[in-house]
Point group: C2
Chain length 341, copies 2
């Protein structure tokens, strides 16, 4: 273990000089482990959906060719960042070695513990010995290899009581409920736009925050009422979130004209910024967790309608986010059903 | 005046049906004034820089042809939204008629008052009688025409004591100091990235908020020290905001490792999200006012380095934002010099 402090992995960037690992063309995964780094014996890569789709197309849906292409990319770049889509994914493995200053050491992690990285593969140094299997349905590549986790990189212990692929899907969106926990207060009216995986977690957490005097509404084009029926929210609105004026009218009716203290955007489609802005009351907060959010559409949209709202970019990290989301899923059978699907 | 309530101008959308005026292909500027609308006799259009550049190219820098093209666009669309760039600008004129429920009536505005709209021309119904002159240097088109302001659209009285084009430049970025006023607190260390027009206003306001126990730093590639010399901030860092690790090292040195409670991004170039995130302390706030901000770069960037920060989209509107910014410029001669340039 080298006595260096390098929380962002700057010394592992091969080229171009001076950039962060995410922006790098290639990383050095083979350099000796630093004092504040953690070495993972990797079992599986969960490739991001956009990247996997591209690999399937390029390799004619052939698992063997996909595996060979993954090896090729990792050999060239020292990380599994798809050169076409630019995207990555997550990985699972066992702790092989821990630098004494890596935060996992203080958190009681031991060599051999099974963990998932919560930072993108696009910035994770990786070397592969072999690809063992490619599971096309699950967008998963089983491998033997080694990865390095920097001191600044979030990770989570894989829980023993939940199915691994279910736990991974929860961990993938665990930032949303954590930020809802921070921004939702007792008595608030909260609207969650998009009742999918992250939206259902946001609903459950919002309901815990607002208490009996508050109210949580879920809005989706498809079956938002299943969340209300499962007790994850108090009311459901069936509407197309890209149609801002219709959504606004529906939310005005549902709230007696008061609109919402907090609107959480978990939509999976673009063009939902204005519905989010219009449904937030003056002085309220709009929290954007949809990766399809356009910065300018939100900023200029709020300005154009003179909406005095705090507009928040959903940060994928908050301390304790993994445990909070896993605990929600343990508590609510309905969430387990949503994440098992 | 029609007895209708239509704060977002939905009834003026000609096509496609159901969208907001900003997304509309064409607006109806001729419909009778509504109860909650305001009619402006327009003197001048301040065309947005991207749009004006496109018009100059298309019209071979000929003022006459630019004027004719502006007439053509407004005749076709009922608004001055450049069909190539999609962008607009602002307008200046006199209040010609006020619906009794428009907020300007309650604010004591009178017919004949000179105002500027603070909402984009991309959503402002407009009809032109003629183009009188095109000022290429100032990206300004003098016209005779009529525009409609909705109840939700921000506007400002033009101050009598400041030169009009200076006042317009201030009004164009007045959201930044207003949100700094809300997010900066006494004793904070604030970093402003980008020491241009909005950045210098952000510095001046931050300095007023943090008081003698706080500290305001300005970071820019070009001459940030002029702001410190003028008393608009306490310290200046000369660095390239696209080089996150270098910026982080400089800010660590300048703050004794503590980093900043609030970082305000007013950069004019893309790729400055990570410098902003890295310089924000854990538990701090990053406020993005640069229109070049990438939503995903900020969200995934913060996640990738495990930075627990509130990431805020700079909202161009906040109550009182115009008066606050104009007052700052009155108070600081250095700001007047920056905005006169």
């Amino acid at each position: 273990v080298l006595a260096v402090t390098d929380p962002y992995g700057a010394r592992r960037v091969l080229r171009p000089p001076g950039v962060l690992p995410q922006q790098a063309e290639a990383l050095d995964a083979a350099a000796p482990l630093g004092d504040d780094e953690l070495l993972i014996e990797v079992d599986a890569l969960n490739i991001d959906a956009a990247s996997f789709r591209q690999l399937r197309g390029e390799c004619g849906d052939d698992p063997r060719r996909i595996g060979a292409r993954v090896c090729e990319i990792v050999a060239a770049r020292g990380k599994m960042q798809n050169p076409v889509t630019g995207s990555g994914g997550m990985l699972i493995g066992r702790v092989a070695q821990m630098g004494p200053s890596h935060p996992a050491a203080a958190a009681g992690v031991r060599v051999g513990d099974r963990i998932a990285t919560l930072v993108s593969l696009t910035l994770t140094p990786l070397a592969l010995d072999e690809v063992c299997a490619v599971d096309i349905a699950r967008e998963r590549v089983e491998v033997r290899g080694r990865a390095v986790l920097f001191a600044s990189g979030p990770w989570a212990r894989l829980p023993g009581d939940l199915e691994e692929s279910l736990a991974l899907r929860v961990l993938d969106v665990c930032g949303a409920p954590a930020w809802v926990a921070r921004l939702a207060r007792e008595g608030m009216t909260v609207l969650v736009v998009g009742a999918g995986k992250s939206g259902s977690l946001a609903c459950a957490q919002a309901k815990a925050q607002v208490g009996a005097r508050g109210r949580v509404l879920a809005l989706d084009l498809r079956a938002p009422e299943r969340l209300a029926a499962a007790g994850l929210c108090d009311g459901a609105l069936s509407a197309d979130a890209t149609r801002a004026l219709e959504v606004h009218a529906a939310v005005e009716r549902a709230t007696g004209g008061a609109l919402c203290d907090l609107v959480v955007n978990c939509a999976s489609v673009p063009g939902t910024e204005m519905a989010t802005v219009l449904c937030t009351r003056a002085g309220g907060t709009a929290l954007f967790f949809s990766m399809a959010t356009s910065f300018t559409a939100a900023a200029l949209g709020a300005e154009g309608v003179g909406k005095d709202a705090l507009l928040v970019i959903g940060n994928g990290y908050a301390p304790g986010h993994a445990d909070l989301a896993l605990e929600l899923v343990r508590k609510h059978e309905a969430l387990r059903a949503i994440f098992a699907a």
